[in-house]
C-alpha cells in the first residue's frame, strides 16, 4: 500500500506541475506584460482607505 501511495504521489506531482506550466503559458500569451505587472503597492489604501488622523 505504501509503495502504491508513493507512486501516486509522483503521479500527482507530475500532473499538477504540468498543469501549472500549461496555465502559465496560457496566461502569458493571452495577456500583455503591462497588464500582468500592473499591480501597485498601497493603491487600495490610497483609493478607499483615505489617510486621516
Amino acid at each position: 500500500m505504501w509503495m502504491a501511495l508513493s507512486y501516486a504521489c509522483w503521479g500527482i506531482s507530475i500532473v499538477l506541475a504540468l498543469w501549472m506550466l500549461y496555465d502559465w503559458f496560457k496566461v502569458d500569451t493571452a495577456y500583455s506584460e503591462d497588464v500582468l505587472t500592473s499591480s501597485r503597492e498601497g493603491e487600495l489604501e490610497a483609493a478607499s482607505e483615505q489617510h486621516r488622523i
Binding site: W2, M3, L5, S6, Y7, C9, W10, I12, S13, L16, A17, W19, M20, L21, D23, W24, V27, A30, Y31, S32, E33, D34, V35, L36, T37, S38, S39, R40, E41, G42, E43, L44, E45, A46, E49, H51, R52, I53
Partner: protein
C-alpha cells in the same frame, strides 16, 4: 487591457490594474501565522532539551515566548500602518531604507523557503517511519507536498488559507485532546514529571545549557510574524492583522505550555532531546492506539500547514521585490484570474524541491532560524525608528503597542542571546550567512539599485518624518 480581458473570456479585471485579491479575514491571518508555526510543537522545540535539559526547554519556552510576544506587538503596530504585501520588507523600505528592505526581503524568502523544505522533509520522514517498508524513500512524499501546495497557492489565496485553517485547527485540537487524555491534573497516573525531572537532572549542563537551548526554543514560535505577508489581501488590514497575530500568539503560548508539560512528563530528557517526533511519541507512550494515530496524522497536518503558509509568504516577499524592481519586474506578475503572484510561486517551486532533495534537515532548519533571527533584530531597530520619525498622533495606527520602548529592548537583547546560542552550535553557518548577506548587499547597492524607480517605491501617504 480590455481586449486582453475579453480574450480570457471568464476573467474580470477590476479597475485599471490586476491586483492581489482582498478576501481574507482575521481567521485567515490566524491560520497563516499559527499554521506556519505549529509544526514546531511536533518537532524542533524538543532539541532544546538535548542542549540544556528538560527545565531549560521550559525556561526557553517562556523567555522565547517573551521574544515573540514583542515581535507580535511590534509587528502588529507597524503592519497595521504599512499594509502591503512583503510585510516587513515594505516596513523596512518606508522606515529604514532600500538596502535594509532588500536584505529583509531576502531574510523572509530564505526563512520561509528553508522552513518549507524542512516541513516537506519532516512529512516524508514521518510517513517512511510509520510505513517501515524496505525500499520506501521520502522523495515522492516531499515532491507531492511541495507541488500540491504550490498548486493550491497558485489557484488562490482564499482556498489556500481556508485549507490552512482547517488542518491547523485539527492539529491544534489533537494537542488539546492529548493533554486532557493523560489526566494532567494528576501526577502518577500517566504523567511522571516529578520522577523524570529532578533537581539532579533538570539542568544537566547548568545555565550555559539554558543559553544553548535558545537556538531550538525558537521553534516554539518561529514564523508567527508571517501573518504580515497577508497585508494586501485582508479586507481590513488595520483590524485583522493585529487581531489575527495576537490571537495566534496567545494560541501558541498555550500550545507550547501543554506540549512541554505532556512530553516532559512522559519522556526522560535524554530521549526527549533527540527524538524527531516528541508529540507522536507521547501519543505512543500513553498506550492508546487512537492517540498514537491521531498524533501521527496531526504531525503530517502540521507539516502541511506550515509548508503551505511558507509558500504563501515567500512568494509574496519575492513578488514585492519584483514590483519595486529590486529584482526584475517579471516577478511582479499577478494571475488575472486567480489573483496570485503566480510567477513568484512557480520560480520558488524548483528551488524548494532542489533544497529538499539535496539538503539535510539540520542545515535547512538552521538557515531558516538564522534568517528569522536576523529579521527580528531588524524589527527591534525598525520600531524605534518608526516611533521617532512618526510619533503617536502624526499618522493613523490600527494598533499601538504598549510599554514602548521596553518590547524593542527586550527583543534586541534576546536576539543577541539567540545569536550567541546559534554560534555555539552552528558558528560556521552563521558566519557563512553573514558573508552571503554582505556580498548580496554590495551587488544590490552597486548594480541593482540603478534599475529601481526611486520615487515610485514609497507608496504610503504619510507626512514628512520628524527631523526631515
Amino acid at each position: 487591457m480590455a481586449a486582453a480581458a475579453e480574450t480570457a473570456g471568464t476573467t474580470t479585471i477590476h479597475g485599471d490594474r490586476v491586483s492581489l485579491l482582498r478576501v481574507l479575514g482575521p481567521a485567515h491571518v490566524w491560520a497563516l501565522g499559527v499554521g506556519i508555526v505549529l509544526v514546531g510543537e511536533f518537532t524542533g522545540w524538543n532539541f532544546s532539551a538535548d542542549k540544556g535539559g528538560t527545565l531549560a526547554a521550559l525556561i526557553v519556552c517562556w523567555v522565547v515566548g517573551l521574544l515573540y510576544t514583542s515581535v507580535a506587538m511590534i509587528d502588529s503596530e507597524v503592519t497595521s500602518t504599512v499594509a502591503a504585501a512583503g510585510g516587513q520588507y515594505a516596513q523596512a523600505k518606508h522606515i529604514v531604507g532600500p538596502l535594509m528592505a532588500f536584505n529583509v526581503a531576502l531574510f523572509l524568502v530564505f526563512a520561509y523557503t528553508m522552513l518549507e523544505v524542512s516541513d516537506a522533509i519532516l512529512l516524508g520522514d514521518t510517513i517512511v517511519a510509520k510505513a517501515g517498508v524496505d525500499g520506501l524513500t521520502h522523495n515522492s512524499f516531499i515532491a507531492a507536498t511541495i507541488v500540491v501546495l504550490a498548486w493550491l497557492n497558485y489557484r488562490g489565496v482564499l482556498m489556500t488559507l481556508n485549507v490552512n485553517f482547517v488542518i491547523t485547527a485539527i492539529a491544534y485540537v489533537s494537542i488539546v485532546i492529548l493533554f486532557f487524555s493523560v489526566s494532567p491534573w494528576t501526577q502518577g497516573a500517566v504523567l511522571k514529571l516529578n520522577e523524570l525531572v529532578t533537581p539532579g537532572n533538570a539542568l544537566p549542563y547548568g545555565w550555559i545549557g539554558v543559553i544553548a537551548a535558545f537556538q531550538f526554543g525558537i521553534w516554539y514560535y518561529l514564523g508567527i510574524e508571517g501573518t504580515t505577508q497577508a497585508a494586501e489581501e485582508v479586507r481590513s488590514p488595520a483590524r485583522s492583522l493585529p487581531y489575527g497575530t495576537m490571537a495566534g500568539m496567545i494560541t501558541l503560548l498555550i500550545a507550547a505550555a501543554m506540549t512541554w508539560y505532556v512530553c516532559a512528563s512522559l519522556m526522560p530528557w535524554e530521549y526527549l532531546g533527540i527524538t524527531p517526533y516528541p508529540l507522536w511519541d507521547a501519543g505512543k507512550l500513553t498506550g492508546s492506539p487512537l492517540l498514537e494515530n491521531l498524533l501521527f496524522i496531526a504531525t503530517l497536518l502540521a507539516a502541511l500547514a506550515s509548508a503551505n503558509g511558507c509558500i504563501n509568504d515567500a512568494a509574496r516577499a519575492w513578488f514585492s521585490l519584483g514590483r519595486d524592481r529590486y529584482l526584475p519586474s517579471w516577478f511582479s506578475a499577478v494571475h488575472p484570474r486567480y489573483r496570485t503572484p503566480y510567477r513568484s510561486i512557480l520560480f520558488l517551486l524548483p528551488i524548494a524541491l532542489a533544497f529538499a532533495f539535496i539538503a539535510d534537515l539540520n542545515q535547512a532548519i538552521t538557515f531558516s532560524i538564522l534568517s528569522g533571527v536576523l529579521q527580528y533584530t531588524f524589527m527591534s531597530i525598525n520600531i524605534m525608528m518608526f516611533r521617532k520619525k512618526w510619533p503617536l498622533g502624526t499618522i493613523r495606527r490600527g494598533y499601538t503597542h504598549p510599554f514602548h520602548p521596553l518590547p524593542a529592548i527586550v527583543l534586541f537583547c534576546l536576539c543577541v542571546v539567540t545569536f550567541f546560542a546559534i554560534f555555539l552550535g552552528f558558528g560556521s553557518q552563521l558566519i557563512a550567512m553573514t558573508i552571503f548577506y554582505f556580498l548580496i548587499s554590495l551587488w544590490f547597492h552597486f548594480y541593482r539599485y540603478k534599475f529601481v524607480r526611486r520615487g515610485d517605491q514609497f507608496t504610503m501617504p504619510w507626512p514628512k518624518p520628524q527631523g526631515y
